[in-house]
């Protein structure tokens, strides 16, 4: 199914949770913050949210800045 991750349309496995999605993307859940359809999902809750077709997901972290 198609979702939008960080502004890009991506095909991912249907029915995955956010935690499984991070694994699929080879991302460490401790190193990213997840926003799912504009709502922040806490780390502990990542396994409880199932991703649906067309969902918008933002994965952010800290980069250099002033």
């Amino acid at each position: 199914m198609d979702v939008v991750i960080n502004g890009e349309r991506k095909q991912i496995t249907s029915g995955v949770t956010l935690l499984e999605l991070l694994r699929e993307l080879e991302l460490d859940p401790r190193a990213v913050v997840v926003e799912h359809n504009r709502r922040i999902v806490r780390r502990a809750g990542l396994r409880d949210v199932t991703v649906a077709e067309g969902d918008a997901i933002e994965l952010v972290h800290f980069v250099g800045g002033g």
Partner: protein, 265 residues
């Protein structure tokens, strides 16, 4: 006979209930490479380092986070909302930053103009009020306007951060009078943020009596960032010490330093 130099007694800098050992805070952007950044931050002696919130690069995830190079146990990570042009965006970035789990401090920026990167003070006040209500310790990046600074303090900001000059300009402290006035009138710490170009700028800024200074480009864009970071550490300390020492009054005429009596006929 040699006498030990006494260290001037200074209060520690406390912001939002947290005490910091260095009055110099540094950014982590625009360094030629991460090794230089790490060594420059070390040389600066800064405890507070700022970071930005950005999308993970899905193609190259391994080395893009600044946390691969900075130990959050040794540095206090101050997330910014740089690049945000509305109060809503700034609040969104602040909430994402807090979720990273390090602290509830945020360097709040709401930018109002692309060319000058000057703050949108209306959006800034709006975002500051909401974030303070949500329990954030807000350090508000603002211009050198006293009334805005007072409003930000009233809104509950933990610190107010007037600029020395526009972000990344290196023009130094353009309005010492306004910055001094803000410092005199506010009760929360005043940290000058942005615009410093070289060590003398940092020194002059600290001589105004402000509580601290935050800089990024002045160090990162120097030809030798590590050496400049060291110069900034010394200049910040020199300016602070000179402020505490209390400068001599300015006068328009000369006054001899040597005795006028005892001259030969």
């Amino acid at each position: 006979m040699t006498t030990a130099v006494e260290t001037i007694r200074d209060e520690p800098l406390t912001i939002g209930g947290r005490t910091f050992h260095s009055r110099l805070m540094v950014g982590t952007g625009k360094y030629p490479d991460m090794d230089t950044m790490v060594r420059a931050i070390e040389a600066s002696g800064a405890e507070v380092v700022t970071v930005a919130v950005r999308r993970v690069n899905l193609d190259r995830t391994k080395e893009s986070s600044v946390l691969h190079f900075l130990d959050p146990k040794h540095h206090f990570l101050l997330a910014n909302t740089a690049g945000c042009y509305t109060a809503a965006d700034a609040m969104r970035y602040a909430r994402l930053a807090r979720e990273a789990g390090f602290n509830d401090f945020v360097k709040l920026e709401v930018i109002g103009d692309e060319e000058t990167l000057l703050p949108d003070v209306q959006g800034l006040l709006e975002a500051a009020k909401v974030l303070v209500q949500e329990g954030f310790k807000v350090l508000a990046y603002t211009n050198e306007d006293l009334v805005t600074a007072l409003r930000l303090e009233d809104a509950g900001c933990a610190a107010v951060m007037p600029l020395a000059s526009p972000i990344g300009s290196g023009l130094g402290l353009l309005n010492p009078f306004s910055v001094r006035t803000i410092k005199r009138r506010l009760h929360v710490p005043v940290i000058v943020d942005a615009g410093v170009g070289t060590a003398s700028d940092a020194c002059v800024t600290m001589e105004q009596g402000v509580d601290g200074i935050l800089m990024n480009t002045a160090i990162a864009a120097a030809q030798d960032p590590v050496a400049m970071a060291q110069a900034m550490r010394l200049a910040t300390a020199a300016g602070r010490t000179a402020y505490l020492a209390g400068r001599m009054p300015r006068r328009e005429v000369a006054m001899p330093s040597s005795p006028t009596k005892g001259m030969l006929d």
